[in-house]
């Protein structure tokens, strides 16, 4: 469970004025009930997901994480270019207390990097790095997966593989998605909300959130 209790995040601009990206947000992501937060561009998606990940502290209120929360999908920082694929797997397995052999085996099969997996990451291209990153995210068996805007990564074949994996493991995965892409929310979430001008409006039904988002997104555009 990820619980947001009256969460707010503000930044001070160069003139010294306080700008609230999110304010007075209370809500929860319960296991099996994915939440999608729809928001137009530059309205605080990354800040919201970073706060959920524990990377940023809220300016007010609190966030309680019960259960294992992933790093944001697609975050390049989880893998180091100075290490080999194998060393990266070792580090993340140790970090999250997972069995190295199981994780290595999963990534070997899923990322399909062949002999490159044991080689240094400097020999990888961007697409191969993305495949390794997403495979590691799945291999960790997180209870909650955080998505910052998109679930892209890898070539078309790999994306199909990911979509198939997500479909097959739907019952075990809970997402917290902050995005400007309505199709992600309608595909993976059971509840949704709209973040606009610092205020989050939550809806029990995704279609209501989509309707609200379409309205504010049109205004924003």
């Amino acid at each position: 469970m990820i619980v947001f209790d009256n969460v707010g995040k503000a930044y001070r601009n160069r003139k010294g004025e306080i700008n609230w990206l999110i304010r007075n947000f209370s809500g929860a992501v319960a296991p099996g009930k994915s939440l999608g937060i729809l928001t137009p561009p530059s309205q605080g998606k990354t800040t919201f997901i970073n706060m959920a990940a524990g990377n940023e502290k809220p300016s007010e209120g609190s966030i309680v994480r019960r259960g294992e929360v992933s790093w944001p999908w697609g975050s390049g920082s989880v893998i180091s270019s100075k290490l080999s694929g194998r060393q990266n797997i070792r580090f993340l397995s140790d970090l999250y207390g997972r069995n190295f052999n199981r994780v290595h085996e999963f990534v070997r099969e899923f990322a399909d990097l062949g002999k490159y997996l044991d080689g240094p990451l400097r020999n990888y291209n961007g697409e191969m790095k993305a495949r390794l990153g997403v495979s590691l995210l799945f291999a960790m068996d997180f209870e909650f997966i955080l998505v910052d805007n998109s679930m892209d990564g890898g070539d078309m074949t790999f994306r199909r593989k990911c979509a198939k994996y997500l479909e097959e493991n739907r019952s075990n995965l809970t997402f917290l998605i902050a995005t400007e892409r309505p199709n992600l929310v309608s595909k993976y979430c059971q509840t949704a909300g709209v973040l606009f001008e610092g205020e989050v409006t939550l809806y029990d039904r995704v279609d209501l959130a989509l309707a609200h988002f379409n309205k504010v997104n049109l205004v924003e555009a």
Binding site: D5, Q87, L95
Partner: protein, 280 residues
């Protein structure tokens, strides 16, 4: 909101669970640091130990053979210099590496699981372990060359080493946080390095100093680190080592570092130490 409000047993469970989690993260970071430091070849592991050992070896050779230095205390010049130089160099090198724990691992703090201080502790621990291995190697070699006992109280030496390790962590944390925010402290730290090194009892026996000077140099924490090792390497050594002072100093600096990190984490993560070079 959290389970900790429901009673003392869950609080204990939470603390233990949190400590176990933190321990696991630090161990993972230590192995990552080792992989980054040593690379993938066994030669790199050996070189990490050989390089500083060679420096110490060459220095000792020049001091003892070329300059024919007399021991300031005891019969063995090599043991006197070794307990001083290695201890001091180890501490300085450990702090220098540890204080860069945040700036060299910035991407790691972007996915939530790792706190900046975890990286500082991991890096300091790895460097301290390397130097501990080097010190052990030299002490064993000296033991065989001189045929005399080089450790008179093993248990107390272990406690002394733990105190020194704690001091290294505290100073690394302090430099990594305060130093990241204020360039003035980084300059001051560099300026102080030589006087602190020279006043740490490497080349003299502190208790033989005139009382007025001793009162002054006694406040140097490096002196206490060197004295902590010497006290347990010589049977009749009169040391000025104060575990209370070294411990209090370390706790104070660590607390300041933790508070600064808590309040200014964002600013610390933005700092790039642009004006610095690796200090050893």
């Amino acid at each position: 909101m959290s389970a900790s409000r429901s009673g003392s047993a869950p609080v204990r469970v939470n603390i233990l669970h949190g400590a176990a989690n933190n321990g696991r993260i630090i161990v993972a970071l230590i192995f990552r640091e080792a992989a980054l430091r040593f690379g993938t070849t066994p030669f790199s592991y050996v070189w990490t130990l050989v390089e500083p050992s060679a420096f110490i070896g060459i220095y000792l050779f020049f001091r003892l053979v070329v300059k024919d230095a007399n021991p300031m205390f005891g019969d063995s010049s090599i043991l006197f210099l070794l307990t001083g130089i290695i201890a001091c160099r180890a501490i300085r090198a450990t702090i220098a590496k540890g204080m860069k724990g945040i700036v060299t691992n910035l991407p790691l703090f972007e996915f939530g699981a790792i706190r900046p201080m975890d990286a500082v502790v991991a890096r300091t621990t790895l460097e301290f372990t390397i130097w501990l291995l080097i010190l052990t190697t030299f002490l064993v070699v000296v033991r065989f060359i001189t045929g005399e006992a080089v450790v008179v109280n093993f248990q107390r030496l272990v406690i002394a080493m733990l105190m020194i390790y704690f001091f290294c962590i505290a100073m690394s944390m302090f430099n990594a946080t305060v130093g990241a925010l204020w360039a003035l402290w980084r300059s001051l730290w560099r300026l102080l390095a030589l006087p602190l090194y020279l006043a740490s009892g490497i080349f003299f026996v502190p208790v033989q100093l005139p009382p007025d000077i001793l009162t002054f140099v006694w406040w140097n924490p490096f002196l206490h680190c060197v004295e902590a090792i010497r006290e347990n390497s010589y049977l009749d050594y009169t040391s000025v080592y104060s575990p209370t002072y070294l411990g209090s100093f370390s706790v104070s600096f660590m607390l300041i570092a933790l508070v600064v990190e808590h309040v200014y984490r964002k600013e610390i993560l933005r700092s790039r130490y642009d004006d610095d070079e690796e200090e050893l």
